[in-house]
C-alpha cells in the first residue's frame, strides 16, 4: 500500500503514543527496584546483572534470541488469529502438538535424511499444530461454540496427552520421562557455536515477513482482516466467513505448532514435559502489546525474551527467589497494560 503524506502533528502524536509502553515499562522497573531493595537486594546491581544476562555476552544474547524464536513465532500465531477476532488462547496446546509432529518426523526414517530432515520436521510441526487447531475452528464454524473456552481447555488435553505419551509409548529407556532423541540430521543447524542459537531464529524472522505480506498484500489477508474488522460487512459483501475462520485458525495453529517443532529440532532435540515454560500464554501478551502487527510483535517478543533471560540469570546469580524475578516480569506487564488502558481511555476524558 502506498503511504500518503501525513500531517506532522499526527506523526508526533503517534510517536508519543508508541513511547508510552517504554515509559510505563521503565516505571515498572522503578517499582520492582523498591521491591528488590525491600528483599535486601541492591536494585542497581540486580538490574546490571539482568542486562548482562540478557545482552552482556554472545552467549547471553544467543539465549535471548533462542527465547525470541519461540515468542516471536507464537506471538505471530496469536496475532493472526486476533486480527480475525478469533481469540485463540490455545497456542500452548498447539505448540505441544507441533512438537509431537516434529518429534515423530525426526524419529522416522525421513529424520535421517540430511538437509531434507529439518525441513520435514518443521512442516510436520506446522501440520500437527494446524490440525489440532481445526477442533476449535470447526466447532466455532459449525456449531458456533466460543473458541476461547475450547482453545483454553484443549491446552490441558494437549499437555496431558503429551505427558501420557512421554510416560508410555514414546518414553525413552531409563528413568526420566523423555522421548528418545531425534536423528542428528533432523536437528536445525546451530548458527553460533557453543550457543543454543539455531536456524530457528531465521525461520522466526521469515515468519514475521511472511505474516506481514500475508496480511497486507494477499487476498486471504484481506479476507482475514475484513472478517476481523467487521464480520457483518464481510458476510454482506460476499466473503466466505467460515472459510476465512478455518484458514486463519489453520495458520495460527500451524505457526504455534512450528514453534513447538523448532523447540524439538533446534533446542532440546527430543520432546520433554515442560518443553515450553508457558510460551503459548506469554504469546497472547506479546500479540496484544505488539498490536497484532508483525513489526510490533517482533519488538515486543525480543524485549520480553530479554526480560525472561535476564531475570533467570538474576535469580541464579543473586540467589533471590524465583518468585521475585517473576514479580518483575508481572510488574512490567501490568504497567504496560495500564499504560495502554490510559492511552485508550484518555481521548474520551479530554472530550469532556
Amino acid at each position: 500500500m502506498t503511504s500518503l503524506p501525513t500531517h506532522s502533528i499526527l506523526i508526533n502524536k503517534i510517536n508519543l503514543r508508541s513511547m508510552v509502553p517504554f515509559l510505563t515499562g521503565g516505571l515498572a522497573f522503578v517499582v520492582g527496584g523498591i521491591i528488590l531493595s525491600s528483599a535486601g537486594v541492591d536494585p542497581i546491581h540486580a538490574y546490571q546483572i539482568m542486562i548482562k544476562g540478557a545482552f552482556g555476552s554472545v552467549r547471553a544474547l544467543a539465549d535471548t534470541l533462542v527465547k525470541t524464536t519461540s515468542l516471536l513465532i507464537l506471538g505471530l500465531a496469536v496475532a493472526v488469529a486476533f486480527k480475525c477476532k478469533i481469540w485463540n488462547i490455545g497456542a500452548e496446546g498447539q505448540l505441544y502438538f507441533g512438537a509431537l509432529g516434529g518429534l515423530l518426523a525426526g524419529l522416522s526414517f525421513i529424520g535421517a535424511v540430511p538437509i531434507l530432515a529439518p525441513i520435514v520436521v518443521i512442516i510436520a510441526g506446522f501440520a500437527f499444530g494446524s490440525l489440532f487447531s481445526m477442533i476449535p475452528a470447526a466447532l466455532k464454524v459449525k456449531l458456533g461454540v466460543n473458541e476461547v473456552i475450547v482453545t483454553v481447555l484443549l491446552n490441558f488435553v494437549a499437555l496431558l496427552f503429551i505427558s501420557y505419551l512421554l510416560h508410555g509409548p514414546l518414553k525413552a529407556p531409563g528413568f526420566l520421562s523423555y522421548s528418545p532423541n531425534i536423528f542428528p540430521q533432523s536437528e536445525l543447524p546451530i548458527l553460533l557455536s557453543n550457543t543454543r542459537l539455531s536456524a530457528g531464529i531465521l525461520i522466526a524472522a521469515g515468519s514475521a515477513i511472511g505474516v506481514f505480506l500475508l496480511m497486507s498484500k494477499t487476498k486471504i489477508g484481506f479476507e482475514i482482516r475484513s472478517v476481523g474488522a467487521n464480520i457483518k460487512a464481510a458476510r454482506y459483501s460476499g466473503m466466505n466467513v467460515a472459510k476465512s475462520i478455518l484458514i486463519t485458525m489453520g495458520i495460527s495453529g500451524g505457526l504455534a505448532g512450528m514453534a513447538g517443532a523448532i523447540l524439538v529440532s533446534g533446542v532440546q532435540h527430543r520432546l520433554i514435559e515442560g518443553i515450553s515454560p508457558g510460551y503459548g500464554f506469554i504469546a497472547v501478551i506479546v500479540a496484544l502489546l505488539g498490536k497484532q502487527n508483525p513489526v510490533g510483535v517482533t519488538i515486543v517478543a525480543f524485549f520480553f525474551s530479554a526480560l525472561l533471560a535476564g531475570s533467570e540469570v538474576m535469580y541464579r546469580t543473586l540467589g533471590v527467589p524465583v518468585a521475585l524475578a517473576q514479580t518483575l516480569q508481572a510488574l512490567v506487564l501490568v504497567f504496560v497494560l495500564i499504560g495502554e488502558l490510559f492511552l485508550r481511555w484518555h481521548p474520551k476524558w479530554s472530550k469532556g
Binding site: K217, Y236, G352
Partner: protein
Amino acid sequence: MEQSNTSPIVLLNGITCKFGDLVANDNVKFDLIKGEIHALLGENGAGKSTLMSVLYGLYKPVTGEILVKGNRVNLKSPLDAIELGIAMVHQHFLLTLSHTVVENIIVGLKPKRPVFLDISSAEDKIIELSKKYGLKVDPRAIVGNLSVGEQQRVEILKALYRDIDILILDEPTSMLTPQEEKSLFETLQSMVAQGLSIIFITHKLQEVMAVSTRVTVLRNGKSLGTFRTSDTNESSLAQLMIGRTITRHAEHSRAKKSGKLVMEIKNISALNNSKIVFLKDLSMELAGGEILGIAGVDGNGQSELAEVISGLRKAINGQVIMDGRDITNQSPHSIRENGLAYIPEDRMDTGLILEYSLAENLVLDRYSSEPYSGRLFLKYSDINKFAEKIIMDFDIRGVPGINSPVRSMSGGNLQKIVLGRELSRNPKVLIAHNPTRGLDIGATEYVHKQLLKQADNGVGVLLISLDLDEILEISDRIAVLYEGKIMGTFDREYANIDEIGLLMGGKKDTVDSTKVIEGYDK
C-alpha cells in the same frame, strides 16, 4: 419575530459550539416559555441535537450562557440538567429490554430504602402518572415485549417520574405509525396543559404545524428566527430550513416501463434472530424498470426480507427467483454474481468497514477477481484506479485520502461509497434498505436520483424504507409489510396515506378493498 411578555423558563443566549473546525452552533439564541411546545426545526446536521445537548449538559459551548428559570447555570453533565428539572428522550431509546417497565423507570434513582427496592410504591406512582397524562403502559411488562410506541411512553414516563418540568424530545416520531404519532401528540398536549414545557426536535414540517406553539428554525448551525406557528406555514418554513424550495419528486413523472420480471418471491418464510417465524408465506414480484416501495413500521420483517433475498438469512420455506434462476438460500456471493446489488440498512455497521480505506471498501465485493487481484496478491494500483473513477462518477467528497480510513467521512459521502460500489456492479435487482436514513436533503435527493436512474436503466429496485414520504415520492408501486406479511400492494396513483397508515398498523379490514390490488398482474 415573536415578542413575549412572560419570562422564559429556559433561555439559551449566544450559544456557539465547535467540533474541531466544524461550527455546529453559531451564536444561537433560543427561549422556551412555560407551557408551550416549542419545535426546533432543521435538516440533519443543522445543529438541533447539538443545541439540545448543550441544554442537557452533554456538551459545553465555547461561548454563550444558559439560563434556567431565571438563573444562570453551569451544566457539567445530564445529572445537573435533571436536577434542574430537564429531561431528554433520545431518538434511540436507552432502555434495558429484558427488564420491566418499573425497573427501567427507577434505575439510577437513589432508593428510599437501603436494601430492597420499593417496587410497589414505584408502580403506584407510575400508574398515577400514566393516568394523568394518558400514557397507557403496564408497569410490570417486560420492555422488550412492548411496541416501539409503548417503549417511547416508558421513556417519557421515566422523565416524568423524576419530577421534571422541561422535556426535550429528539425526533420522537421517527419510529411510530401515523396512529401512534397521533396519540403521542395528544399526550404532549395534555402535558403542556398541566404546566410542562416541551422542546420538540424534528425535521418534519407537518409535525411542527400539528403540535407546536412556536418554532425555531436552524440551518447550518445558525438560528433563522423563532415564529409563532399560527403565523407561519409549511412552505415558508421549508424554505427557511432548506434555503430553497423543495422539488417534490411526486411531481416527477417517469415513463413507467413494464419490463420483464427480474425477481419473484414465492411463499417465503424465515426466522428472525430469536428463531421465531417472522416472514410468513410472503410473496411478491418485481419487474425490471420499476421501483417497488416496501412501507412498514420498523421491525415488521424489513431486515429479514432483505437478508433472505441477499442470502444472509436462510429461508425455511419458499423460493426466491432472480433473473430466471432459483437463488433461494444460495451464498451471498453467488446471489451477487447473479445480479443483485444491495444497499444495506446500516452503512456504518454492514455496508462499510470503517477502519478500511475508501479504495478497500469499494472492492469488498470484487477484490478476488480480475483486475483487482492476481492469483494470490491484491493489485493495489488497479484498486486505486477504480477508486478514483468511482470518486469522480459519484462525486464523493471529503475523502481523507484514498488509502486513509473512511471513518471520518460524513454520512452522505459514506453512502456514496456504498452506492458507488453497489451500482457499479450493473445489477439486475437493487435492494435499497433505508437508503437515505440520517442523510441531509441534498444527499437524500442524490440517492433518490440514483435510484430513479437505475430504474430508468431497467433495474428492478426494491426500496425498503421506514420513511413513508420517501416511498410515496419515488415508488411506482407500494407494498405494505406488517408482521412479516404483505398487507396490500398499491399502484402509486391509488396510494392514500391514511390507508397505508392503517395497513402499517395491521388494520386490514377497514381499508376499502377495491383500491387494494393483491399481487401484481403481469
